[in-house]
Symmetry: C2
Subunit: 130 residues, 2 copies
DNA sequence: TAACAAGCCGTTATATTATAACATTTTTAT
DNA sequence: ATAAAAATGTTATAATATAACGGCTTGTTA
């Protein structure tokens, strides 16, 4: 069983902010939030974000340049992500659907290219906004 | 039959650059290319890009902040896009696979949310780079 | 234990991507 | 002809992200 990753101080601080947030956070909004904890520069935030992404503890919502904590029991699968995004209230949910992930992981295009990673973003209206 | 959209001058200029390109282009690289045609400011480029996106003549590769011409016979379906991206040579191909698009267009998550749009990006190594 | 590598940290400066705000002109539809 | 809608041009600025430099800590190993 793999040892739980120990996060460094800055990584921990940034991760906690993202984990507690109700929705995706932008890098500079994270920076603002962590200033009281002594993190002052964008680069400090971006470095923590990079590491957390690499570990699969967070994901980036590409269409929003924002970050969310992984909701799939600390996703080893930073390589296979799918999100649902409400176009009205901006609510983002990580989709955890094994049929979908199996389908996409097995997908091969006509050129025979085999993929090692994918990211899927669905857009629509959530229950509340519909 | 819907009349072919007539592009304005700036839209046409920007579109031609993207269409002729061998790969995805970034906004400021487009700006550089079109300066000889009298387009001087970022906004002029971004406005053209916005319109072209809306028309489905181009798509944005979110993970790269770059733009490609639509290869699916001028995609009415700017709402259902899928790309394959080589992580080594950066080659990007628009995937045109009806099984995949049917599957994704019909996808419903556990909350019953129905989607009006999606974007999927696959990453891997292309034939050449493999 | 010396010395080396790897990872993390802090700081300043700068690059890259994108939009705000305002004034004007062109195109389209009535 | 008139009014509404779309496109243009320009300046300034906002938002997102990385480069470059130097130092500190920790664990490995010669
Ligand atoms: Zn996850
Ligand atoms: Zn909503
Ligand atoms: Zn297309
Ligand atoms: Zn390649």
């Amino acid at each position: 069983m793999p040892q739980a990753q120990i996060l460094s101080k800055n990584q921990q601080v940034v991760f906690e902010i993202i984990e507690k947030a109700k929705g995706p956070l932008k890098a500079y909004s994270i920076l603002y939030d962590v200033q009281k904890k002594g993190i002052r520069a964008p680069l400090q935030v971006y470095r923590a974000l990079d590491k957390l992404l690499e570990l699969g503890k967070i994901h980036k919502i590409e269409s929003k340049n924002a970050f969310v904590a992984c909701k799939n029991s600390n996703c080893e699968i930073t390589k296979a992500t799918a999100f649902s995004i409400c176009e009205k209230c901006e609510k983002v949910t990580e989709i955890n659907n094994s049929k979908l992930s199996n389908y996409l992981s097995a997908f091969k295009d006509s050129t025979g290219m085999k993929y090692s990673k994918y990211n899927l973003e669905f857009f629509g209206l959530c229950k509340k906004c519909k």
